[in-house]
Amino acid sequence: MTKGLLALVASVLLAACAAQPPARPLVPPLRYAGPDAHAPSEDAPFRASPPALADEGPLPAATVQSFALPGSLRVLVVERHGFPAVAAQLETDIGPADAGDVGGVLAGMLSYVFLRPPEGVLMTSGGCGAVGCFVQSRGATGDLDDVLGRMADLALSERAPAAEYDRRLATAIKVHETSGVDPGRALDRVERALLFGNRHAYGSNHKAVRPSLDDLRDLRRRAFVPTSSVLVVVGDVTADEVKASAARHFGSWTAAAGPPAAPAPPPDVSGARIAAFHTKAISQVFGAVVARGPTRGDPDAPAFQLLVEMLGGSPGSIAFQEVREDMEAAYAVGSSVVWYPTTSAMALGGSFERGQAIGGVQGLLDAIRGVRDAAPSEDALARAKRTAVSKSRRAFETNEGLAAMLAQTVLLGVTPEAAFDFPRQIRAVTSAQVRAVAARYLDVGQLHVVFVGDPEYLVTAQALRFGAPMRTDGFGERWVGGT
C-alpha cells in the first residue's frame, strides 16, 4: 500500500516535471577539455604541401548540327545521349523592333502577358529583356514533341482565356509603376541608364508606359519573326527527330514582317558619371563601378572577360580580397559582364556597410587602377583563367544550360562554334593583353559609379572625384521631385 502510494506520488511528480518545459534549448554541451581538434599524433609526409596540380583536361566539345525550316527559322541540334533528357530554347532578337524610347519595358510587359504558360503547362517558361525574348522547355527522353509543342503554343499563339490577358496586362502595368521603389531593380536600372542613356533600348527605363493589349500584340507580331529567331535543341535526341518535330510545330511559322534592321550601337553618353538612388528601404548601401566593354565577337572579348573575372569574379579575386577581406567593407563583392549585340557592360560592386560605402567603392576603383597600371602576376592570371574556363564549362553541364548559351550566343552575332571556342581563347590570353584591355575599356574617364542607399551615408561621395552624384528615381531617370 505504502509502496503503491509512493509510486503514485513519484509518477505524479515525474509527470509534473515532464510537463514543465525546459527554459533553454535542448542541445548537448560543448567539450572544453581534451586534445585540440582531431589531428593525428604525427603528420604524414603528404600533409606538408598540397598535391601537385594535374595538367588541365580537355575542354568539352560537341557537334552542332544546323538546318532551316521553310519559314527560315534556324534550328541547331546538339545530340547528347548520356542523360535521358532533352531541352530546347527559342531565342528571338527583338531589340531592333523594340528600339523606341520605352526600351525593354514593353518587352518585359509582353513577356508577362504573353509568355507565361497557361495553367497545367509545366516545365515551360519565357521572358524578355532589352535585347531578346526566349521561350524554353525541357523534359525527359521521349518528350521532344511535347517540349517543342509547348514552346510553339506559348511563342506563337494565345491559349489562355481572353480575360486572362487583360488581367495580366493590368498587373504588369501596376507592377512596373510600383517597381521604382525596389532597391535591387533600381541599381540595375541606374547602371544601364548611366551607361547607355535613357533614349536607347539598352538603357531606357521609362516609368510611364501603359500599353494596350493591341500595342503588345503589334510588338509581338513585328518582333517574333523566324528570320530573327533561332531554335536550339540539346539532349537525348537525334537531328532527324528534331527535324520532324520542329517542322510539325514551327514549320508553318512565317514572317509577318521582314527581319528588323540591325540595332544601332548605343551613342556616347555625356554628362553625369556618378548617380545615386536614395532609399532607406535597405540597411546597407549598394555601390558599383560600371563601364562599357567590347562586343562578344570582338577580339578583345576573351581578355575582357578574364579581366572582369580577375577583378571580382571569385573569392581569390583582387577586389574580393582587398575590399572584403582586407577592408572588411562588404560581405558581398562581385563582378559581371552582360553582353549586348553591339556592346557589353561590366559591373564591379558590392553591398557595403553604410559607413564604408564610399571607401569600399574607392577600393573597387583602386583595384581597377591596379590592373591598369601593372600587368597581373602570372599566378593571378593563371587562377583567373582556370576559374573563368571552369565557369564557362558549367554552361555545358546541363542540356538547358547549353541550349540557352548557344541561343544567346547566336543572338549576339557569334557562331555556335565560337561559343565552344571561347574557353580556349580565354586560356590563350596573356597578362599584357589583360593590361591593354584594362587601359582600353577601364580608363578612369570611362568609368561610372552608382549608389543605391541612404543619402546620409553618401554625403562624401565627391571624394571619389566623379563629381556630385546625379540623383535619380528608381527608373534611372534624373530626379525632378522635391527633396
Binding site: 525546459p22 542541445v27 548537448p28 589531428a39 603528420d43 603528404f46 560581405y331 556597410e353 571552369s390 564549362r393
Partner: protein
C-alpha cells in the same frame, strides 16, 4: 507525359524499410557494409530505345567513422566534393547563438598546412568554382567543384581543415565582422530574413533547438575557446560525411579518401537529447512595422519532421498551393489582393515548418489577405483532385530527374539529410495520394496551429522591422 520519366531503384528498398522501422543504427550498419545502390531511369515503351541511365552510389565508412559516399559517372564533366558535418545552428549553445555559422566562416581562414588566404587561391589554381560553406539548422556543408583530375587537392584541403583547424583571435574578429555584414546585407534587407526569427520564435518553444530569439545574437560573447570546443565536440570524422560525385573512379577516390582522412582520429559526437514530439502553440499574431516597400503577411505552422509521411504530403500541398497558376495565385494575385505569394514546407530533422508568405497589394488590409489564405488552405483540404495530385507528382519526378544532370546537383542531393531515405529522391512521393494531402492539411495547417506575422510598411521604422504588438488568440 511526365510519367515517362519512370525510374526504379534497385537495392534501395531495404534502406527505406529500415528507416520506416526507425532503426538508424541498422542503416549505419548497412552503410558500413558498403551497400551499392543503383538507379535505372527507363524511357517508356513508345519512346526511342535508349539504354537505361545508371547512377550508381557507393557508400563506405572508414575506420574512424567518416562516411564516404561516391557517385561516379564517366559521362559528366567535372567533380564536386561536399563535406558535411552533422551539426548546425540548432546546436548553438544558449548565449552563443551563431557559433555554428561563425565556425563555418573560420574554416576558410586556413589550417595547419594551408596559410591564411591560400584555401581559395589553391582551389582557383585548380580551376575550382562554386566554393561555399552553408550552415543549416542540422548540418554544415563545405562544397567545391573542380575538374576531376584535381580531386586530390580538394581532398587534401578538406582533410587539413578537418584534422588541423587553426582558429585564431584575428580570424575570430574578422569572422564576427563579416557575419554582421552578411546578416545585415543578406538578412536585414530581405523581409524574410528578419521576419523568420520572429516566426520561428513563435513556432518553436524556448526549449526547442530551432527556437530563435529575434534580435539576439550571441556572437559578441563567443571566445576562441568556444570555437575550439565546438570543433572538438562536433568536427570529428565520426560526425562527418564526404560526398564526391562526377567523373571519378570510385576505387581510386576511396583510396584518396583513405589516404587523406583515414589517419584523423574520430571521436564520437555527443548524443542529442530526445525532444517532445508535439507542443502547444500560443496561436500568436505578431504585428511589425518596417521601412520596406510593401506590407507582408507571413503565416506559419509547425509540421512533423523529415521522414514523416505527413511532412512529404505537405511538400505536395505546398507545390499545389504555390503553382504559378495555382490556387494561391488565383485567390490572391488574380484578385488583386497581393502582388506575390509563395508556399513552402521546410523539412528538417527535428521539426519542419510550413510557411505561406504574401506581399500585399497597396491598400489591401492584411486581415483580408490572411482570410483569403485561410480560405484557400481550407479549400485545398476539401477539394483537392486526383489530377492536381498527379500533376505535381509528375512535375516533381521530372524536375528531380533533370536536377541530376550535374555533379554538383548530385552531390547536393546526396548530402541532403533525407538522402538516407532514398539516394536520388525520385520516389519520394510515390505512395502519397490526394487523401493523404487533404489529411495532412487538415491536421497540420489548422487555424489553431497557426502563427501570423503581419508587416506594415512604414518609413518611420527601420528596414529591419520592429515588433509593434503581439497577441494570443483563443
Amino acid at each position: 507525359m511526365f510519367a515517362r520519366a519512370c525510374a526504379t531503384i534497385r537495392e534501395a528498398r531495404p534502406l527505406i524499410e529500415s528507416v520506416r522501422l526507425g532503426t538508424r543504427a541498422h542503416i549505419r550498419a548497412l552503410l558500413a557494409a558498403g551497400v551499392l545502390l543503383a538507379l535505372s531511369v527507363c524511357p517508356d515503351a513508345d519512346a526511342r530505345d535508349s539504354p537505361p541511365l545508371s547512377l550508381p552510389v557507393e557508400q563506405h565508412v572508414l575506420a574512424n567513422g567518416l562516411h564516404v559516399v561516391l557517385a561516379p559517372d564517366p559521362a559528366v564533366d567535372g567533380a564536386t566534393v561536399i563535406v558535411r558535418y552533422d551539426v548546425g545552428s540548432g546546436d548553438d549553445p544558449t548565449g552563443k547563438e551563431g557559433l555554428a555559422h561563425l565556425v563555418e566562416h573560420m574554416m576558410f581562414d586556413g589550417s595547419r598546412h594551408v596559410p591564411h588566404g591560400e584555401y581559395f587561391r589553391w582551389i582557383e589554381r585548380a580551376g575550382g568554382f562554386g566554393v561555399n560553406g552553408t550552415t543549416a539548422v542540422d548540418a554544415t556543408r563545405y562544397v567545391a567543384s573542380v575538374p576531376p583530375e584535381q580531386l586530390p587537392l580538394v581532398l587534401w584541403l578538406e582533410s587539413d581543415r578537418m584534422g588541423f583547424p587553426m582558429p585564431d583571435e584575428d580570424g575570430l574578429r574578422r569572422a564576427k565582422t563579416l557575419i554582421a555584414d552578411e546578416v545585415r546585407g543578406g538578412t536585414s534587407d530581405r523581409t524574410m530574413g528578419w521576419v523568420g526569427p520572429v516566426l520561428f520564435s513563435e513556432l518553436f518553444p524556448s526549449w526547442h533547438p530551432y527556437h530563435m530569439d529575434p534580435g539576439r545574437s550571441g556572437l559578441d560573447g563567443v571566445t576562441l575557446a568556444d570555437v575550439r570546443a565546438f570543433l572538438r565536440t562536433w568536427y570529428s570524422p565520426r560526425n562527418a560525411w564526404l560526398f564526391v560525385a562526377g567523373k571519378i573512379d570510385a576505387a581510386a577516390t576511396l583510396s584518396l579518401a583513405e589516404k587523406y582522412f583515414g589517419d584523423l582520429p574520430g571521436d564520437a559526437p555527443p548524443v542529442r537529447p530526445d525532444l517532445p514530439k508535439t507542443w502547444r502553440l500560443p496561436h500568436a499574431r505578431v504585428v511589425m512595422g518596417a521601412g520596406v516597400t510593401r506590407d507582408r503577411v507571413v503565416l506559419g505552422w509547425p509540421a512533423p519532421p523529415l521522414g514523416d509521411p505527413v511532412d512529404a504530403a505537405l511538400d505536395l500541398a505546398a507545390a499545389i498551393l504555390s503553382d504559378p497558376n495555382g490556387r494561391l495565385q488565383k485567390a490572391l494575385v488574380a484578385t488583386g489582393l497581393a502582388v506575390s505569394v509563395q508556399a513552402g514546407e521546410s523539412s528538417q530533422s527535428r521539426g519542419s515548418e510550413f510557411v505561406i508568405n504574401a506581399s500585399t497589394a497597396y491598400g489591401v488590409p492584411a486581415e483580408v489577405v490572411e482570410d483569403a489564405i485561410e480560405r484557400t488552405v481550407d479549400d485545398l483540404a476539401k477539394t483537392i483532385t486526383p489530377e492536381e495530385c498527379a500533376r505535381v507528382k509528375s512535375e516533381w519526378a521530372t524536375t528531380a530527374l533533370l536536377r541530376l544532370q550535374t555533379p554538383a546537383s548530385r552531390a547536393f542531393r546526396l548530402s541532403g539529410v533525407d538522402a538516407v531515405l532514398e539516394p536520388w529522391g525520385l520516389h519520394k512521393y510515390d505512395a502519397i495520394g490526394p487523401g493523404d494531402i487533404a489529411s495532412a492539411v487538415r491536421s497540420v495547417l489548422a487555424p489553431s496551429n497557426r502563427v501570423s506575422v503581419v508587416v506594415h510598411h512604414d518609413r518611420r521604422y527601420p528596414a529591419g522591422g520592429v515588433v509593434l504588438s503581439r497577441e494570443e488568440r483563443p
